[in-house]
């Protein structure tokens, strides 16, 4: 059976190659690693935690303005991994979708519906030849009124799924295997356990002894008041507890 030969454009725009692959989408996944960061998110019994690196390469950069954790609604936050500009665009769109849902239906958008919507939008880019897929991976953390803590991830291909624990970025595979060993079938981790596991996962996989200024932690718990980004002092508390354990 002779393979049809492509005109050579299948690597340049989002059309199928003769083997049935979308090269542009695969390149988008590689683009996520361009940022050189890794993020980890874990769901506990009554909380969800998202941890990412905070790399400030330049001394002149104002560290306060560098962030990869974004609040989408009161009860939904996300950690973005990949190209920063694409990430900001996705976040803006996610905020718009959530607000539009609230306006049209009168209640807060559930986390899975928001992730589904963002995934559907990403899928359109994999079909439109004139628009490229975005090189970023969104991990949503949120609290559902009926179902409790939720963790969802969507990627440039338009695939999304709910997770007990997940990672994205350069050291994704290593982090995922670390998490697989740690996560038990029954999710009954407390808030402290969840944060410490997430931080230690990142520390182990990247072989870095983190200082509070090198980490960003976002949490949402059933007790608290929505999605919160922890301050350096709060992160320090957990780092100290972690080092005392070891």
């Amino acid at each position: 059976m002779s393979r049809g030969s492509s005109a050579g454009f299948d690597r340049h725009i989002t059309i199928f190659s003769p083997e049935g692959r979308l090269y542009q989408v695969e390149y988008a996944f590689k683009a996520i690693n361009q940022g050189g960061l890794t993020s980890v998110a874990i769901r506990g019994k009554d909380c969800v935690v998202a941890v990412t690196q905070k790399k400030v390469p330049d001394k002149l950069l104002d560290a306060m303005t560098v962030t990869h954790l974004y609040k989408i609604t009161e009860n939904i936050g996300c950690v973005m991994t990949g190209m920063t500009a694409d990430s900001r665009s996705q976040v803006q769109r996610a905020r718009y979708e959530a607000a539009n849902w609230m306006y049209k239906y009168g209640y807060e958008i559930p986390v899975d519906m928001l992730c589904k919507r963002m995934a559907d939008i990403s899928q359109v880019y994999t079909q439109n030849a004139e628009m490229r897929p975005l090189g970023c991976c969104m991990i949503f953390v949120g609290l559902d009124e009926e179902l409790g803590p939720q963790l969802y991830k969507c990627d440039p291909a338009g695939y999304f799924c709910g997770f007990k624990a997940t990672a994205a970025g350069v050291k994704q595979t290593e982090a995922t295997s670390y998490l697989e060993k740690k996560v038990k079938k029954k999710l009954d981790w407390t808030y402290e356990q969840t944060i410490e596991t997430a931080i230690s996962c990142l520390a182990t996989v990247l072989s870095i002894d983190f200082k509070p200024s090198e980490l960003e932690v976002g949490i949402i718990t059933t007790k608290g008041s929505g999605f919160k980004i922890l301050s350096e002092n709060e992160i320090d508390v957990h780092l100290v507890a972690l080092s005392e354990r070891e």
Binding site: S89, Q92, R93, Y96, A99, N100, Y103, K104, Y105, G106, Y107, P110, M113, E145, E146
Partner: protein, 278 residues
């Protein structure tokens, strides 16, 4: 990403009024010839709803009027929207019917999309946004009631798009009569039987005191367990049974005189026509 550059998109819509001047001229020229343009059939209704201990009860009368004539003696004014949400409609019958059907369709799609049961707030939100878009041209006044995860709720939506959330509500031409009963006897957290009686009395007040309402009382009881539709729960305005007999026995009228006049008939013409069996 062009989408985010636009602010929250407001759906353009509403009726197109380009032909109103032409229609006005047509109507006036027609009325000169004695023709009247057909009017929309209004339900001229009494609808009511209350929140009781376990859920929501919706009640409605069953008369549909066409100006001063009863068009339907037993029409159904309580419409299905979702398995746990029902809606009573007053105003223009067609508008109420079609609006609730559109809502029902939207809610079904939403439920399939989200995988969750419907919320009453969502139905009310979409209803009022649609009615506002048509600036009151859709003459539907609705009472939406249902039980969802947040509990039993009752909303009334007016044709221009405003809404109220209250423990008891009445709408329609018989609203004043019905609400007087509620204002007098409503208590929060009533039991089921007590609540059913109260709604029945409210609708009955509308049936007797308002010309636009009549015939029977329909009830719809929505609780967490499910929905009970009581069509024709009460028939206060049934035609009474005649007491007396109006057939006279032969011999009631006394015969005084009898005259017999024979009519001789002569056969002039005789013709036979065979009927086609088909």
């Amino acid at each position: 990403m062009l989408h985010t550059l636009k602010p929250c998109e407001i759906q353009t819509g509403g009726f197109c009024f380009e032909n109103t001047r032409r229609n006005a001229v047509l109507e006036s020229s027609l009325s000169e010839s004695g023709y009247k343009a057909p009017g929309a059939r209004k339900t001229g209704t009494t609808i009511a709803g209350i929140v009781f201990k376990d859920g929501v009860i919706l009640g409605a009368d069953t008369r549909a009027t066409d100006d001063m004539v009863v068009a339907d003696k037993n029409c159904m004014k309580i419409h299905y929207i979702a398995p746990n949400i029902y809606c009573c409609g007053a105003g223009v019958a067609a508008d109420a019917d079609v609006t609730t059907q559109i809502m029902s369709s939207n809610v079904e799609l939403h439920m399939l999309n989200t995988g969750r049961p419907a919320l009453v707030t969502m139905v009310t939100r979409q209803l009022k946004q649609m009615l506002f878009r048509y600036q009151g041209q859709i003459g539907a006044s609705l009472i939406v009631g249902g039980v969802d995860v947040t509990g039993p709720q009752l909303y009334s939506v007016y044709p221009h798009g405003s809404y109220d959330k209250l423990p008891f509500l009445t709408m329609g031409s018989g609203a004043a009569a019905a609400v007087s009963v509620f204002e007098d006897r409503f208590k929060p957290n009533m039991e089921l039987e007590e609540a059913k009686q109260l709604v029945r009395e409210a609708i009955t007040a509308g049936i007797f005191c308002d010309l636009g309402s009549g015939s029977n009382v329909d009830l719809c009881i929505i609780t967490e367990a499910g929905v009970e539709m009581l069509r024709g729960y009460d028939k206060p305005a049934m035609k009474g049974k005649r007491e007396g007999q109006y057939r006279y026995k032969p011999g009631t009228t006394a015969v005084l005189t009898k005259t017999v006049t024979p009519f001789p008939l002569v056969v002039v013409d005789e013709s036979v026509q065979i009927m086609d069996p088909e």
